[in-house]
């Protein structure tokens, strides 16, 4: 946990506690922020520096079977980006999908200390946890895919809402997940069942089920909120990437009816359709989206910004990957996870001259620049879908430096800018405090991580110290110090210690009777036996259960008719 530590003379940005650049001491002991430490404690002189909580990535793809497939399908990117072994650190490879060790080290060298893997099939949980074990420094958690789950669909179809809630709790608990994730609800089921099929609206019938995405989404929003999950539900809406998908997104947000819901990488869901001939060309509807979010405090989103350059499309949305693979004519991976989900992977490159790519870039910036509540429109590139996490410093500079932004705007497809409102929000510049919100305090609050994202007494001692610089990209590329759980991981910009982060997961209560409902389904339809399915605690040597606050007791499930 490191020795006691006092950080002095730094300008502190701790928006959760109302500290906005004040020069004050931050004290650390036993892995926590404390009020004071003995005078002989080690000191870090942070004069001319900015002190912030460690960065928190609310939505990224860094571990698990699909991430590994993405690594395997791009060996050519590894040769150019080799990370050699050092006395302290393990070797690895980079590119847009770094190997596990490189992922941990590289996040740390950007000042990030927590990251959420945003899409894991329940069956992939073990694999994900094993990769997490080899992803150093970071505290991690994962969102488990439940939006195309056949058993849950059955329960919902039969109106067994209570059992659905218990089953969801069971799934979260036995996989050691952090939150339920919906990805294109119904889409994978359609894709698996019919040739090139996908969901096109919330009211489409999902394959052979007597269900619609509307019912599925509403049910999971309800269940996640009733279970009192710290992050009730994380939604990747239907129609990602399609022109005119803004209506689907707005309609999805309305389904929450005041309850908490988080919309993932919303940039990809903010497209209008051009009138007339070029109907297939998207336009920006960022204004409509942000207006809704500004006025609906129950809704939050991460932006899913696009950065020019290489990326890897990596998604549980298999039909989407099929659509995208046509653009580059490049490699494509499709994979199914039996009763649970689908998966698609496409190496990709965003180009500033390409209309659609430039529009996506502009919409990401628009959303952030038009947002009135930074606590609810937070930072992400949906790494590596919109670009690598290594491009975060550049994105921060785009937000903080309007001169730089203007210069970059001059290089992109101007027709795309014409179809966005980016030119109208040229004035705004993010402050350091707002950056601290969208990259730290906001994600922590949205995830329900009360010990993270701030520097108040009792918080986890995850601290990043940046040297102030006019060039914000430079500033945020290489923090001078990074402290994780009270331990000095990075000193003078260099890794000085290795560290094993924790697994953040939930363990909601459920009525044990639900296992009687689930088990027969496993024995009939799964390739794995029920008893072998739950992830046992050996996979979580360093776990932390984040408590839930259920509004409904885990009452016995009502007996339903099994089909």
């Amino acid at each position: 946990m490191g020795s006691p530590l006092r950080i002095v003379n730094g300008r502190v940005y701790d928006p959760a506690n109302g500290v906005n650049g004040a020069v004050q001491d931050v004290c650390v002991r036993d892995g926590k922020i404390v009020a004071d430490v003995p005078p002989d404690a080690k000191r870090i002189d942070a004069a001319g520096m900015v002190v912030m909580p460690g960065g928190i990535d609310i939505h990224c793809h860094i571990a698990g079977p699909k991430v590994n497939l993405a690594r395997k399908v791009q060996p050519e990117t590894h040769q150019d980006d080799v990370q050699l072994r050092t006395r302290l650190t393990r070797s690895g490879t980079g590119g847009t999908v770094p190997s596990t060790f490189a992922t941990g080290y590289r996040y740390a060298t950007l000042g990030y200390t927590t990251a959420m893997e945003a899409a894991v099939t329940p069956l992939g949980a073990r694999h994900t946890l094993e990769e997490f074990h080899d992803t150093p420094v970071l505290d991690k958690g994962f969102f488990v895919l439940v939006g195309n789950n056949l058993l849950l669909y059955r329960l919902l179809q039969e109106g067994r809402r209570e059992e659905l809630r218990h089953a969801l709790a069971w799934w979260l608990k036995v996989t050691k997940a952090y939150a339920p994730k919906l990805v294109n609800p119904g889409g994978d089921e359609m894709w698996k069942g019919q040739r090139n099929a996908n969901i096109t609206s919330l009211d489409d019938k999902i394959g052979s089920f007597d269900l619609t995405p509307r019912r599925v989404i509403a049910a999971f929003i309800e269940a996640g909120n009733e279970l009192g999950l710290p992050h009730p539900v994380h939604i990747h809406c239907n129609n990602l990437g399609h022109s005119g998908n803004v209506e689907t997104t707005l309609e999805t947000m309305r389904l929450a009816e005041g309850r908490r819901a988080h919309i993932a990488h919303i940039q990809f869901h903010s497209y209008g359709a051009a009138a007339g001939k070029s109907q297939s060309n998207p336009t920006s509807r960022a204004r409509d989206i942000i207006e809704y979010i500004n006025t609906h405090p129950n809704i939050s989103a991460d932006v899913g910004a696009v950065m020019f350059g290489p990326a890897t499309i990596m998604t549980g949305d298999a039909p989407l990957a099929y659509m995208l693979r046509r653009f580059g004519g490049n490699k494509w991976v499709n994979a199914d996870t039996e009763n649970e989900s689908g998966c698609g992977i496409v190496p990709f490159r965003y180009q500033d001259r390409v209309y659609t790519n430039a529009l996506q870039w502009a919409i990401g910036l628009e959303l952030l620049l038009l947002s009135e509540d930074p606590w609810r429109m937070v930072f992400s590139t949906d790494h590596p879908n919109g670009g690598s996490f290594m491009s975060y410093p550049r994105l921060i500079r785009l937000l903080m430096d309007r001169g730089y932004r203007k210069e970059q705007m001059a290089h992109v497809n101007q027709k795309a800018l014409d179809r966005s409102a980016l030119r109208d929000c040229q004035e705004r510049e993010y402050s350091l405090s707002e950056i601290a919100i969208i990259t730290r305090a906001g994600p922590a609050r949205l995830l329900g991580l009360t010990d993270k994202g701030h520097l108040g007494v009792g918080a986890d001692a995850d601290v990043t110290i940046y040297e102030e610089d006019e060039d914000k990209e430079k500033m945020f590329s290489a923090p001078r110090y990074v402290i994780k759980d009270g331990e000095l991981i990075i000193e003078d910009h260099e890794l000085r210690a290795d560290h094993q982060g924790r697994l953040l997961h939930v363990a909601p209560d459920y009525d044990p009777q639900i296992e009687q409902v689930i088990e027969p389904f496993f024995e009939d339809f799964y390739t794995i036996r029920f008893a072998n399915y739950p992830v046992d605690d050996r996979y979580v040597p360093n776990g932390q259960i984040i408590p839930t606050t259920p509004s409904v007791a885990a009452a016995p499930a009502t007996a339903g008719t099994r089909t």
């Binding site: 399908v73 791009q74 060996p75 050519e76 990117t77 040769q79 490049n330």
Partner: protein
């Protein structure tokens, strides 16, 4: 005065010697060169442990000995010249952008992967993946020339996008697989599945070849560009008969499962499999 390196201790496992490049050794004395790092298996070692170094670097490098276990010679070189009096190992001239490498003996697999300029001349045989894309990569050779006097292995010019590969002997299976453009001249025999998945580009053969069914016969003719091309290859030292320059060639278009804009040109006097 050139820098001369003579192998004195044969490596027992492959030796990674990407320092053996005129760019990297520019202005380096023999003494300094001997201290440069190479990787022997998983151990770092001094170049001098394996090579007797003499002379001084002036843009030209002479290597002597059986270097079949020495890999990555000339990696990324942009100028200058390397002459190898002997054979070389894998990854010769990887990603080179200019200059010239001449190998008097044989070369291993992966000669000139993803090179974009310069010239590699192999007087003996070359291994598999001559002038190819790295695994996973879609684009192979982007420019430059590779000349092999002997035979070459499988997957010559995999993913090639520009440039010239000329082989005096035979080429193995899958010559020009996934080719994007560029020219492969094979004076010997083409093995199976030449041009599989090619989008554009030309594969020229002086002998009958069994082509994939996704290649379609177009015509017999004497392409003018081929006269220019073959005279150029002759200038590179390969034996090109006048009958090759003046000959008529069958043009086969393919690969039909891709863009179908590539071609295999087969010297007519050779006689071929039946045209359908």
């Amino acid at each position: 005065m050139t820098l001369t390196l003579t192998l004195r201790t044969a490596p027992t496992v492959p030796l990674e010697a990407d320092v053996l490049s005129p760019d990297r050794l520019s202005g380096v004395s023999a003494l300094e060169a001997a201290k440069l790092t190479v990787v022997h298996g998983n151990q770092r070692a001094d170049l001098g442990e394996f090579f007797q170094v003499g002379g001084a670097a002036d843009g030209e490098l002479h290597l002597t000995g059986d270097l079949a276990q020495v890999k990555q010679i000339g990696t990324g070189m942009a100028r200058g010249r390397i002459v190898v009096h002997g054979s070389v190992g894998m990854h010769l001239g990887a990603g080179m952008t200019g200059g010239e490498i001449v190998v008097e003996g044989d070369a291993g697999d992966w000669v000139g992967p993803e090179m974009s300029g310069g010239r590699i001349v192999v007087k003996g045989n070359a291994g598999h993946m001559l002038g190819s894309a790295r695994r996973g990569s879609q684009i192979g050779v982007r420019g430059g020339e590779i000349v092999v006097f002997g035979n070459a292995g499988n997957e010559v010019g995999n993913g090639m996008r520009r440039g010239l590969i000329a082989i005096g002997g035979d080429a193995g299976d899958f010559a020009g697989v996934n080719m994007l453009a560029g020219t492969i001249v094979v004076l010997g025999r083409l093995a199976w599945r030449a041009g599989a998945g090619m989008r554009r580009g030309s594969i020229i053969s002086m002998h009958p070849a069994e082509l994939l069914p996704t290649f379609s016969y177009a015509c017999d003719y004497a392409p003018e560009f081929l006269r220019v091309c073959l005279r150029h290859v002759r200038g590179l030292g390969l034996t090109i008969a006048d009958s090759h320059v003046n000959g008529r060639y069958q043009r086969w278009c393919g690969d039909g499962i891709e863009l179908n804009r590539g071609e295999v040109l087969i010297l007519d006097s050779a006689g071929t499999a039946s045209r359908s």
